[in-house]
């Protein structure tokens, strides 16, 4: 049984995520789209905190809200007039977009409905031991069973390649 407070928080988070993600793709001013994206990402961070993944929620705020959205805002301001409206959609592209989104919704809803009894009766969030940053770091850097040392090293090489690539591509010639 969830407490009333967590149900209210659930309703607020869900509402913010759904409304802001719809507004992100429908607003005609691009700077507003970036702002709505920021609120959607904050909603996801609150979701992670509610699930008990504090570290993941912190990473979400620091990397997505603090890094990626700021990068988007810089790019928008550098590449044009942010106050301009985007041109109106043609009927054809709207139809294509709605069709693809509804097809995706249909497939997802069908997958959810086929398991709906199990998910509804599947009961509440199970108890779990709170993992500490200590444990997370231990598993991230262990090379034993269930360790993530190889992906960790691979992604560090990838980030280095990405930094060099970003500098090389974006520099003035």
């Amino acid at each position: 049984m969830n407490s009333v407070g967590s149900i209210i928080l659930y309703a607020i988070v869900t509402l913010v995520m759904v409304v802001c993600s719809v507004l992100t793709v429908t607003t005609r001013k691009i700077l507003r789209a970036a702002t709505y994206l920021l609120f959607t990402l904050f909603g996801a961070a609150v979701l992670y905190f509610m699930l008990g993944y504090e570290f993941l929620g912190g990473v979400q705020i620091a990397v997505y809200a603090g890094g990626i959205v700021v990068l988007f805002v810089f790019a928008i301001l550098l590449t044009g007039k942010p106050a301009d409206n985007a041109e109106r959609l043609t009927a054809k592209s709207t139809f294509l977009g709605v069709f693809a989104a509804l097809a995706m919704l249909g497939v997802g809803a069908w997958a959810l409905c086929s398991r709906v009894t199990r998910m509804l009766t599947g009961a509440a969030m199970p108890e779990k031991a709170q993992e500490t940053v200590d444990q997370i770091g231990e598993q991230l850097l262990s090379s034993g069973h269930g360790g993530y040392l190889l992906p960790f090293e691979a992604i560090s090489v990838l980030l280095l390649a990405c930094i060099i690539g970003g500098v090389v591509i974006a520099r003035k010639r």
């Binding site: 994206l37 979701l47 044009g80 693809a100």
Partner: protein
């Protein structure tokens, strides 16, 4: 009322569908990238949710989300570098206007 898994999966599905819609209808490359971020974020949410509800003793889904966030950051940085470079050459970031491959 219990908040079960499906109550969280539905908003995540709606978020993904918004991303699909935006990716197809938008012309501006940065707006397309924003739609892509919506899709990536909804998948991250699903990883964390399935981990928390179905396998609460493990941390695999959380690590997948962490790596996905790092990859999304890398991808966005490179994509924005490419977009800025294109803007410098053709003064335009609309996908409709980009029809030459060599300048």
């Amino acid at each position: 009322m219990e908040i079960t898994l499906i109550f969280w999966l539905v908003p995540s599905l709606i978020m993904f569908c918004c991303g699909v819609y935006g990716f197809i209808t938008r012309r501006n490359m940065i707006a397309m990238l924003i739609s892509l971020e919506l899709m990536l974020n909804s998948v991250d949410i699903n990883f964390a949710l399935f981990n928390r509800y179905l396998f609460p003793g493990q941390m695999e889904g959380m690590f997948f989300s962490l790596f996905a966030i790092a990859l999304a950051a890398a991808e966005t940085a490179l994509a924005i570098a490419i977009i800025l470079n294109i803007f410098r050459k053709v003064k335009n970031v609309d996908v409709q206007g980009l029809d030459t491959m060599k300048f």
